[in-house]
């Protein structure tokens, strides 16, 4: 007998009484998925506890939370009355792990395994909500209302994210139970391809990836492009904008919504093959869409003879290789074909000449996710949401200096003010709102004075920005707008494909100038040079990356020129971000010599005996700001360290 066996037997003997008898294995019907809690023939569970299994929550320990909940329920003998399941992304991405209890409509955030016992005792067994875990801040939260009353959720209208937080992403049955694939059935049996297209046209759906091109019109052009060899539909899941993660969430949480949209689109256009191009940096999304495609095939929603109607369509998944430029449709197609991912001039457009020369319709993930509800509930319903020219809803990634960060889906036309304050809960720590960056690196910064503009394609363009993929980065008084412009331009410089002169050379030069400015070497002609250069790049670039690259620079110059001037002429950074332009000093009259800053300084730049005003050596100072943070006197004394 080995030591290992001896030890195993000893453990088994010691735990003999405590071990729970294993139930006999249930027979599993072939071809179906039986998740924990499948309940054929039993009374339905009174509550469902859904643990968010999106990437962020899993990273923060969602698996352990789920295990702890199941263990606590087992110990309390409640397992049969409560169903614990893997949930789809709850969109409260900075407060994971998120746990949702239905039908109570209660959402718990930042749940740890240690909370499981309290949650079980108090809420699941006792019916009393655990208030301290319900941590959504904002004006509506005094009395811990249910989800539907919380500002963050109340203002949202979920179309693309209709299954958010409600279904197990790996369960096609859950998707079907929530009206999944009903639209496809209708499209294939009740509508003609032309009618499908006219419905999508009438809905007013526009491309959600950023271009905003009318989707139905694009489908129609593709349908009318002659091609005896077949056509393609493509889902653009490259999502390269920093700060945008709605496509990731949709693919991870509701992959079938995308598949259903693509099959309907393929039917309308007359395509027989599709591609989903997922960026390489989304392993979970790729895994889930692949699994969903396999399951959809098993159930007859993909492959030869879809739903027995004679229509055939299948989807391949292709992974990106780390290039933002491959979100551009012609570069994306080159990448799928195995060539270098560089854009080519248009015309011809992909709808006429795309993958391998055949008509190809490319749409963004969110656009595809909107198709099924439109077919099921009608174009009239969809067109009743939104504004005159921007119909429907849009998913925004609300991030940055905001209390409630995450993914929100709201009707077009809602104001930025409502998004930031009613939904987002405002700017944390009492700071003042400065600007909102929309549309990622291709977009622009909208100043706080303009947050009453309604969010739609035309209004944002008029303000100098773009809708883009829906990134909304909130900035406060501590954000340096010149630094923001430099950040985005540096990103685009690295991601430029390098083919055309204005983008390759011009964006690099913009970055050089902005870096100089943030380092205190700005020159009087810089603002004019940036503007002139920016306009040339905007007008002469080969593709959208270059054409929109100057937007962050041009909008910050337009709305925050005083900040540029402060950097260039006064060598000062008003937001106190650009390290080269800030100086930390001790105020001798206010310094009590408590030595807190001396201890905090990582390079020993502050010295001085106790109870005597300290001395800060500028030659050693690395501008980290630790002393400033630590020097916290009461309001009467004020700070003894200030920044100029």
């Amino acid at each position: 007998m080995t030591d290992k066996t001896r030890r195993k037997r000893a453990v088994r003997k010691a735990t003999k009484g405590a071990r729970v008898k294993k139930a006999p294995a249930k027979k599993v019907r072939r071809g179906t998925h039986r998740k924990a809690g499948a309940r054929a023939g039993k009374a339905p569970a009174r509550r469902t506890v859904s643990v968010c299994f999106g990437t962020c929550c899993v990273q923060n320990g969602a698996r352990d939370v789920k295990a702890a909940l199941e263990e606590a329920l087992r110990a309390r003998k409640l397992k049969s009355g409560v169903r614990v399941m893997n949930g789809s992304c709850s969109a409260l991405c900075d407060r994971g792990p998120v746990v949702r209890v239905e039908p109570d409509g209660v959402v718990y955030t930042r749940v740890t395994p240690a909370d499981a016992v309290e949650m079980t005792e108090s809420h699941l067994a006792g019916g009393k909500v655990v208030k301290r875990l319900q941590a959504l801040e904002g004006p509506a939260l005094e009395s811990m209302p249910p989800v539907a009353d919380v500002g963050f959720f109340r203002e949202q209208v979920l179309v693309a994210m209709r299954n958010r937080g409600r279904i197990d992403p790996d369960s096609i049955e859950a998707y079907i139970a929530n009206d999944g694939y009903a639209a496809l059935a209708r499209a294939l049996t009740e509508l003609t391809p032309e009618k499908i297209i006219s419905e999508v046209k009438a809905s007013g759906l526009r491309g959600r990836g950023g271009g905003g091109f009318p989707t139905g019109l694009k489908w129609e052009i593709c349908r009318n492009s002659p091609s005896p060899d077949g056509k393609y539909v493509v889902c653009n899941a490259d999502e390269g904008d920093p700060g945008a993660f709605m496509d990731r969430s949709l693919l991870e949480s509701d992959p079938h919504s995308v598949i259903e949209g693509m099959v309907i689109g393929a039917r309308g256009i007359g395509a027989d093959e599709g591609y989903v191009y997922v960026r390489e940096e989304y392993p979970l999304a790729c895994e889930r869409i692949l699994r969903a495609i396999e399951t959809a095939r098993e159930y007859g929603f993909l492959g030869e003879d879809v739903l027995g109607t004679g229509f055939s369509f299948d989807i391949n998944v292709v992974r990106g290789a780390g290039a933002f430029v491959c979100g551009e449709e012609t570069a994306l197609m080159a990448s799928i074909e195995g060539k270098e991912g560089r854009p080519r001039p248009r015309p011809p457009f992909p709808a006429e000449c795309g993958l391998w020369g055949k008509p190809t319709n490319i749409n963004n993930v969110e656009t595809w996710a909107n198709v099924a509800p439109i077919i099921l509930r009608g174009s009239g319903w969809y067109a009743s949401l939104g504004t005159a020219h921007s119909k429907g809803t849009k998913v925004f990634a609300l991030v940055g200096k905001i209390v409630n960060a995450g993914l929100i889906e709201v009707p077009m036309g809602i104001t930025l003010r409502k998004i930031i304050y009613d939904i987002g809960g405002g700017v944390p720590r009492g700071k003042e709102l400065k600007a909102v960056q929309t549309g990622g690196p291709s977009g622009g910064c909208i100043p706080a004075s303009m947050i009453d503009i309604p969010v739609d394609y035309e209004e944002l363009a008029r303000a100098g920005s773009i809708m883009g993929s829906g990134g909304l980065i909130v900035m406060d008084e501590d954000t340096c707008m010149v630094d923001v412009a430099r950040y985005f331009v540096a990103f685009l410089e690295e991601e430029s494909c390098g083919k055309c002169t204005p983008c390759r050379e011009g964006v690099r030069r913009m970055r050089e100038i902005l870096t100089r400015i943030t380092e205190g070497d700005g020159e009087p002609g810089d603002i004019d040079l940036l503007t002139e250069l920016g306009m040339a790049i905007k007008e002469a670039s080969l593709c959208g990356l270059g054409a929109t690259a100057p937007n962050p620079v041009l909008t910050t110059i337009r709305y925050f020129e005083d900040e540029y001037r402060a950097h260039i002429y006064d060598k000062r950074c008003p937001a106190r971000v650009c390290k080269a332009l800030i100086v930390y000093r001790v105020v001798p009259d206010k310094c009590t010599g408590c030595q807190r800053c001396v201890r905090a300084c990582p390079v020993g730049a502050i010295s001085g005996p106790r109870s005597q005003p300290h001395n800060l050596d500028q030659t050693k100072c690395i501008k980290c700001g630790a002393c400033y943070e630590v020097c916290k006197f009461d309001a009467i004394a004020g700070d003894a360290i200030y920044i100029e």
């Binding site: 001039p345 690295e494 991601e495 050089e512 007008e539 002469a540």
Partner: protein, 248 residues
Amino acid sequence: MKPENKPAKRRGEKTENRPVKEPKSGPDRKIVKKSEMVRLTINGKKVNALKGDTVLEAAREAGIEIPTLCHHEALIPTGSCRLCVVEVTAGGRTRTMASCVTPVADGMRVATDTPRLKRIRRMVVILLEARCPNIAIIKKLARDFGVRKNPFPKDDEDCFLCGMCVRACLEIVGVGAIGIANRGPESEVVPPFSVESGVCIGCGTCAAICPARTFTLEKVFRRRSMHTAGGVESVFRCKVCESHYTGT
């Protein structure tokens, strides 16, 4: 057809099977059917073009000059230098497009020399001159566009990535021994993985077509002597793809 107009003979290709290249201009241009004709306006002047022509070809045919840098008659245009930009009004919209890759369309109105286009082209030349201040063709462009003082700090590159060498090697020679590696400002023309090309045939087309004269014929082949048992052999090295050849 005059003998000079015949395309260069490719290795191993029988003369009879070579496709005949239709002359695009001059007295030999055939009489065309109406359905093949496209009528557009360039700088207010009515121009007739063939379906499938680009705006650049139509303009040159009409005697209107548009500057180019990455364009060559024998190569498929890519629209990468952006010097040839024109303003195109079609279907109620005006857009700035590269004329070398824009197909002509009926009723199109083209402007080739507006103040806006001049400003754009000038900025393109400024950017090129800042990158390659010592290349003759760029210096000439700078002179033509009146660029005296460059607002940007100057580099000293010997290549402005027009890509003609790459395209020629692929399209004309049919070998494709070199390509553009990396992305953005880090782009460079090299054989795959920057190691000696296994497929270069040493034809020197890349050197001949390069507008920067970066790879002149003299520079392409550099003599190196090798002493072997049988005598002295000369080894040549191609500067572009670094292949080695023996020869006398």
